[in-house]
């Protein structure tokens, strides 16, 4: 099948603009993706026809909004092949999903001397919550390193597992290196020792077909805004059995069953973890984004993005003095690099002036930067609406940077 790239690009109004008198090239997709027109239209439709607070209402709009919300939960359940709707918790984003698990898992399971293992390639959002909850509870926070290609050092990781290990928190896909981690294999090994596994799916779910039951992880977290859906909405998938065991996180709203002056009883899953008025708009938008992705086909998306990656890697390797970070065999569609000794801020500023949006800096992964002994990188992260012509423009801009800072 030929990927209908022209049609797809026409679905994203934001792409068709000039910045600094040059056509925009948007290569900051790992930070946040753009929204297809049908997602924007779904938000508009929602506010013009159906908007209301949900669940407890008996009137027409409330019922309509509740149905849209719960229907979306069902479709997200199918999208990642979760076991049932009770396993899908709506949050405001990956960071909240991760904090929810770290806090409640910590309260329930982490005692002094226990251990949590993470990796040096984590985004701060899957690193600091575990580091802090371990500090708070007297547990030990351990961090596995990498091989030279930027792959997880599995030997080191497995060597850290012992009878005190309670949980392994790791990312599905590194937002800096692009590395796709063997989460299924790691989960299988962890489960032999009764260790829970949390997968940060922020960079996974938008680029790869995800099947949480096949992966068998206990938790999987992701954000709407990184998968073509609105901001302010995210998902926590958790196995029903373990979610049942965890105490509630935030209090108020639908998560309550009965409130008395001296005590409170809590609602069932998934509501137990959804405090306050939910972001129905966000959920409606997320559902529309999933429809869109399903129509494209996640396999087609993944293979088109892989072709972009291959093209970019080839072109970059043709430029002298480029250092690419992350050359894992299993790699998602992004490239982190440095141009000679030019500071990433210098390079990024000029590339921006050529109309190309790349991200520069530590990418919320300071421990990784320290590990690699670099101040930061330039990162171009691709989505299925990007093209090889755009990559050519990036290559040209890199050459321009080299010339300007000669």
């Amino acid at each position: 099948m030929i990927f209908p790239i022209d049609k797809i690009r026409s679905d994203f109004p934001i792409l068709h603009q000039e910045v600094y008198n040059r056509p925009l090239v948007y290569f900051d997709n790992a930070a946040s993706t753009q929204k297809p027109i049908r997602v924007i239209a779904a938000i508009q439709r929602y506010y013009e026809h159906d908007n209301c607070n949900i669940h407890r209402g008996v009137h027409y709009l409330s019922i309509k909004a509740t149905e849209a919300y719960e229907e979306a939960r069902k479709e997200i359940c199918e999208f990642i092949n979760a076991g049932n709707k009770r396993e899908i918790i709506f949050t405001k984003g990956t960071t909240e999903s991760l904090n929810l698990v770290a806090t409640t898992f910590g309260k329930r399971y982490l005692n002094p001397g226990d251990e949590v293992i993470s990796t040096i390639m984590e985004h701060h959002s899957n690193f600091v919550p575990w580091q802090q909850v371990c500090l708070e509870r007297g547990a030990r926070f351990r961090v596995a390193g990498l091989s030279s290609r930027g792959e997880l050092d599995l030997e080191e990781l497995y060597g850290m597992i012992n009878e005190k290990t309670r949980l392994i928190a790791l990312t599905h896909v590194s937002n800096v290196l692009g590395t796709i981690n063997p989460v299924k294999e790691i989960t299988a090994i962890a489960h032999q020792r009764n260790i829970a596994v949390l997968v940060d799916g922020a960079q996974g779910v938008s680029h790869l077909p995800v099947d949480v039951r096949d992966m068998d992880c206990d938790f999987y977290c992701f954000s709407g805004h990184k998968m073509y859906a609105p901001m302010g909405i995210g998902v926590l998938y958790g196995k029903e059995k373990i979610l049942e065991e965890l105490p509630p996180y935030q209090m108020g709203g639908e998560m309550i069953k009965e409130v008395y002056v001296d005590h409170t009883t809590f609602n069932e899953l998934p509501f137990k973890f959804e405090a306050g008025t939910p972001n129905v708009e966000g959920v409606v938008g997320l559902r529309e984004a999933i429809h869109y992705l399903n129509e494209l086909g996640m396999k087609e998306v993944a293979s088109y993005e892989e072709s972009l990656l291959k093209y970019a890697m080839e072109k970059l390797s043709g430029i002298e003095n480029i250092r690419v970070f992350g050359t894992s065999k299993q790699k998602a569609s992004l490239v982190s690099f440095l141009i000679g000794n030019i500071h990433p801020f210098d390079a990024g500023t000029i590339i921006d002036k050529m109309g190309i949006a790349v991200r520069t800096g530590h990418h919320c992964a300071m421990p990784l930067m320290d590990y690699l002994k670099i101040p930061g990188t330039l990162r171009a992260s691709f989505a299925f609406y990007n093209t090889t012509e755009e990559i050519d423009r990036l290559i040209a801009s890199i050459n321009k940077v080299k010339e300007m800072f000669k």
Binding site: H55, R56, Y60, T66, E67, E70, E71, K74, K257, F271
Partner: protein, 146 residues
Amino acid sequence: MKIEEIEEEVVNEFSAYEDWLDKYNVIIEMGKSLPMIDEKYKTDAFLITGCQSKVWLHAEYLDGKIILTADSDAIITKGIINILIRIFSNQSPEDILHANLDFIDKIGLKEHLSPTRNNGLSSMVKQIKLYALAFKTKMEQQGYVG
């Protein structure tokens, strides 16, 4: 009568009414005529949670059929319960388990009974199906044992 037949009957009765208020007048009448539950079952043990109004539901097994009685503190809820009892009471666990619920849509009560709502009477339908499953399992086990 079979479940589908009763369902058809109910759907026909409701099809006579175009306006929502007329429909609800019928439901209110049905609510008033609900065969009440035995007072001793109006306890928390028989309460179905998650409804806007209170619903008590009792089920027993008699000669291969499930007998349902119920009550509520709200009349419209009682009316809807009445319809559910008319359809599901005095039926076999097997038939209840396999019953298709299209009639809910057809008489326009989806808003009360839709399984996508966690606070509706849908909990009651779920509870009826759970009772059916429980009795079925129990009978099968007794069958095995002797």
